[in-house]
Symmetry: C2
Subunit: 353 residues, 2 copies
DNA sequence: TGTTAGCACTCGATGCGATAGAGTGCTAAC
DNA sequence: GTTAGCACTCTATCGCATCGAGTGCTAACA
């Protein structure tokens, strides 16, 4: 059967109506709504065809139609008018991204919160892969005789820190000297770019400089290797409670639970995308996670240095306002990427050593 | 009417039964359960008295009884057997508290998560008042020509950092020198202990040392004044969905919403306690927050240097397992306080300047 | 050939009455 | 003081009739 223009118009009308009301759409509604001057009977015939084509389904015999996964897919891929309207309320985020506060965890959390608030859906933020960003500066901060904190600042002024313990008593001057050596070797590079041979060489060189460096390098390389917290944040999980499709408490709970299962969320936001697409939409049964079979997920990835280093997702009901979600995500990701880019520029005027 | 021993036994039986089942308790149930050899009719008489005393209520005429706020209060204050049984699963937290990872936000968040998981209720963690803890060390980390990060480590190896911008171009050596000056003046003191006069004097002294210090001191004092993030974290908010009393979606949503209103949560965990009590229990209608009228809140405060600096709370249904919650909270708070105490000891062996 | 009016049919939602059952309060007997 | 017995109350549940939205089909129409 051919999907002619009229069928498309009707499908679109059904979907848009359903997006608003969350109620099955009947032929009369469409007949009145569409300015085609067609009676409900004609619409019924067309709807019957659309159902046969698998684009819409009937919850039960005497109900209206709702879009199927396939129907949404068609809508998202071809029918949806991408409104590039500028988003308000982003100023708040802008402020954050302008380096005012740069604790990675807090930043990502805040991003998720804002996204959840803007979209009214649930946001899932995947931590950027620290190891793929460039080290701007390292600094050892002495704490007491046997411990210090290693502060690492990477591009985007992302700060992370770990406690390091040593076997030999520390002097404050030692930490300064070690800091200088560390920066000399590592500043301006990404963690990933450091080969094992190089690391070994660095270690030897450092130990030659001071016996005390011994434990330090191990701790550092340890941190670099393991401390890349692959992690996800979920924000606005409870937003889904506002949608009638999840007013069943059991279903709501199942969703809540899955939102807090980190491995499932990680598999969800997996940003293993083709190079050219930066936005992935998974609709209903296309989801691999059982509990999300009635949900849609829009995932946007962000890049750094040409590589995907993380992603941001929105999870909502299948009748999600795809248009707005995509617009918001797009804006958000671009801003976030700019944060890294801006700092790369500034990098030119380094503090003079 | 006198609350004799038998009445107390019956009340206790009613409460304990209701804690388990969340169903109104009938006279027959008590008659069978209590080894007093009393018939249900006798129990009914006693229950009638207990109701007259306001300790139990009937949801409707032909239903069993459930404890009233007053009844729970009596139970919590006098009847409950405080089982000091040691808690398992705390090892995880122990690890965290042993300085392995010391980002304040993450630590507090993790504490909330563990508490929520252990109790199966919702945990609310109030950030410790940074300003009342003692500064162990400050460190300026240069970023680029016009910005650097001020890292502050306080007792308990709590790390916080803020970006500082300057008008004058920076040299790396400057940041080292400034760091030394900062530590000389501020290390070992609490933010609160610094008087305005003292601060002004410090500023003058610093500016004499270097013109570049100008903007720096302002930024620092700014950070100390405003950056004490009075904040709360809510963990396991969705746990309450598991309780039948909140299976009504509207009520569940109202609760969820209130959990995310930071000011309300702050008012909730207000740790304005009498000096001698470290645990406050608010039951049902005793709550000032409307949405929590059916909930109970157990709040434990933690001290540092003799002052309350924060609190940890558990929110659950009125038929909460008070006993277990109190035990868990008590354990958690003690451990957390030890973290500060331990580090105070270590403080003796400072790194040699 | 496409469109439409008309109509029988389906099925969920709603409302109502009857019923069952849990639990009470009261009374009278022990 | 305790208890058996009983009438009473109230909720929860089930069946049943009804309503109405919406469909599919057929026949007539342009």
């Amino acid at each position: 059967m051919e999907l002619n223009d009229r069928k498309i118009q009707i499908l679109q009308a059904i979907i848009m109506n359903y997006l608003e009301t969350a109620e099955p759409v009947g032929s009369r509604t469409i007949s009145r709504r569409l300015p085609l001057g067609l009676s409900s009977a004609t619409i019924r015939n067309e709807m019957s065809d659309l159902e046969e084509m698998g684009l819409i389904v009937q919850p039960h015999t005497s109900a209206g139609r709702i879009p199927s996964t396939k129907g949404y897919r068609l809508y998202v891929d071809h029918l949806m008018g991408l409104s590039g309207k500028p988003m308000e309320r982003f100023d708040q985020l802008r402020g954050l991204l302008q380096n005012k506060y740069v604790q990675l965890d807090s930043l990502m959390k805040e991003m998720g919160d804002i996204l959840a608030e803007l979209t009214k859906y649930t946001a899932i933020v995947d931590m950027p892969q620290f190891r793929k960003t460039r080290i701007k500066r390292l600094q050892l901060v002495p704490l007491d005789q046997y411990s210090m904190i290693l502060v690492v600042v990477t591009d985007g002024n992302i700060v992370r820190n770990n406690v390091i313990r040593t076997r030999h008593p520390l002097q404050v001057e030692d930490t300064y000297r070690m800091t200088d050596i560390l920066n000399e070797h590592l500043a301006g590079r990404t963690f990933d770019a450091i080969t094992p041979e190089e690391a070994a060489a660095m270690k030897r060189e450092m130990q030659a400089d001071s016996t005390m460096m011994e434990g330090v390098w191990d701790a550092i390389s340890n941190m670099l290797r393991y401390a890349d917290n692959i992690d996800v944040f979920t924000s606005g999980a409870t937003n889904i409670l506002n949608f009638p499709e999840f007013s069943d408490i059991a279903r709501a709970r199942a969703l809540m639970e899955v939102f807090h299962e980190k491995d499932k969320m990680l598999s969800l936001v997996d940003y293993d995308l083709k190079e050219d697409e930066s936005m992935k939409i998974t609709i209903g049964s296309e989801n691999t996670i059982e509990q999300l079979k009635d949900c849609s997920v829009v995932t946007a990835t962000y890049k750094y240095g040409g590589q995907n280093i993380g992603s941001i997702s929105v999870v909502g009901p299948m009748r999600m306002d795809y248009d707005r979600v995509i617009g918001t995500l797009d804006y958000l990701v671009k801003d976030f990427q700019n944060m890294f880019a801006d700092n790369e520029e500034k990098e030119q005027k380094k503090p003079t050593e």
